[in-house]
């Protein structure tokens, strides 16, 4: 079996940003994404219900270059005012050429 090593970028952010982030990721080159409803806590306090605004986790398998772009984009546009964390790590993907 042949794998391609790509990057899995994970963003956890306020749920209100979900649609906007999804669209922007696509524009930045992501070919697909997986979304999970999550709750959490961090420097901006507890985010655990629709009242406080829960969080969403967006994961996307992308090429290292796209990963770089996504992380820079999120840092630039969302770090200042929104509850958000972003990180990445390499994963071995089957049929990996589909995602670059």
């Amino acid at each position: 079996m042949s794998y391609v090593t790509l990057k899995l970028v994970t963003i956890v952010a306020e749920r209100i940003l979900a649609d906007r982030l999804s669209e922007e990721l696509r524009e930045l080159g992501a070919r697909g994404l997986t979304i999970t409803d999550v709750t959490g806590s961090g420097s901006r306090g507890v985010r655990a219900s629709e009242w406080e605004g829960a969080n969403v986790k967006i994961e996307s398998v992308v090429s290292p270059a796209v990963a770089e772009r996504i992380m820079a984009h999120v840092a630039e546009h969302y770090f200042q005012y929104y509850a958000v964390i972003v990180y990445a790590h390499p994963v071995d993907v089957v049929r990996g050429d589909k995602y670059v």
């Binding site: 306020e14 209100i16 409803d37 306090g45 507890v46 219900s49 629709e50 009242w51 406080e52 605004g53 829960a54 200042q80 005012y81 929104y82």
Partner: protein, 321 residues
């Protein structure tokens, strides 16, 4: 009934008691937790049901009767955020973004406060006009628009004005309330009869469950009280009284009944926590959500639910003398 008896009757109604139970559950750190989808389902149901009933009533209301209250309501939706913004800026306690954010919340309306006021009127023999839900729909949007306009006119903002406008107008509370209203209007009183057991008879009970959840949320908010400070507590109690009195007076002036004017007062005094927070988070991300959520959910809502509503009824009765 004497004023004190009325107050007591309000405090002992299931919806107020359910709210208190929610607060207690949160304070004793109970593992009681409403699944998020139950909260969402209840809010969809409540907003749509209010609209539906209001629309069916409106279909039987002559335009001439409805016009005065409608205009008065829109006017209040424009004036109150301006009042709120100026109070906050002139007392020099909030920067522009936070002042505009709070103004959007206090100009708009809390649907649950409206329902509680309506129920209070019915129980005490002073029911409000049937078309009131149409006024809720009219009061919801203008204030948010006005407040965001103030913010965007005064300085360049981080957020997006168009995105926020879309968030309000296509937001779920407007879609459900206005959508229900139009459906009720088109279907008419006879038309909605088959769905009445679900949307009308079940309404108060569903509201009780919803208030249980709101009590838990409000209590969590109260933990932030120290952060927001005494100033915001005073603001969250006094401004609603001012707005409420203004609303009652305007309603009376427009020819509404005692119940109608009092419920309008409660609406005007209330602070939004469904439509406004979503729009504000998008348009004014630099405003601190702790301020506006704590003020509207943790301070103003409980105040209105317990003391405010009876107060607005007392004012309405006094104005009608």
């Amino acid at each position: 009934m004497q004023p004190l008896d009325i107050l007591l009757a309000n405090l002992l109604s299931p919806i107020v008691l359910a709210f208190v139970l929610g607060v207690i559950a949160s304070v004793v750190r109970s593992d009681l937790k409403f699944p998020e989808s139950l909260y969402t389902a209840l809010s969809i149901y409540l907003l749509f049901a209010i609209g539906l009933k209001g629309g069916a009533e409106l279909s039987q209301t002559p335009v001439r009767v409805f016009l005065g209250p409608a205009l008065v309501t829109v006017a209040l939706g424009i004036i109150t955020p301006i009042i709120a913004y100026n109070v906050l800026r002139r007392t020099k306690r909030m920067d522009r973004a936070n002042a505009a954010a709070l103004a959007a919340h206090y100009g708009s309306v809390s649907a649950v406060t409206f329902i509680a006021a309506q129920a209070f009127g019915t129980l005490n023999g002073e029911p409000a006009e049937g078309y009131m839900p149409a006024l809720v729909a009219l009061l919801e949007v203008p204030a948010i628009v006005v407040a965001l306009m103030i913010a965007f006119v005064r300085s360049k903002r981080a957020g997006s004005w168009q995105a926020a406008l879309h968030e309000v107008l296509a937001g779920k509370s407007v879609v459900l309330l206005l959508g229900g209203l139009v459906i009720g209007l088109l279907a008419g009183k006879d038309g909605i009869e088959p769905v009445e057991p679900f949307f009308v008879s079940g309404f108060k009970g569903a509201l009780t469950l919803f208030l249980l959840e709101m009590g838990m949320v409000a209590a969590r908010r109260l933990r932030d009280l120290r952060t927001v400070g005494l100033y915001l507590v005073a603001f969250g109690v006094l401004l609603p009284i001012v707005h409420g009195a203004l609303g009652v007076w305007a309603g009376t002036w427009a020819g509404m009944s005692i119940g109608g004017a009092a419920v309008l007062g409660a609406m005007v005094s209330s602070a939004s926590y469904i439509a406004a927070p979503a729009a504000v988070r998008i348009a004014l991300p630099e405003a601190n959500p702790t301020y506006y959520l704590t003020a509207s959910l943790g301070i103003t809502f409980p105040f209105n639910l317990t003391l405010g509503i009876p107060l607005y009824f007392a004012i309405a009765r006094w104005l009608a003398l």
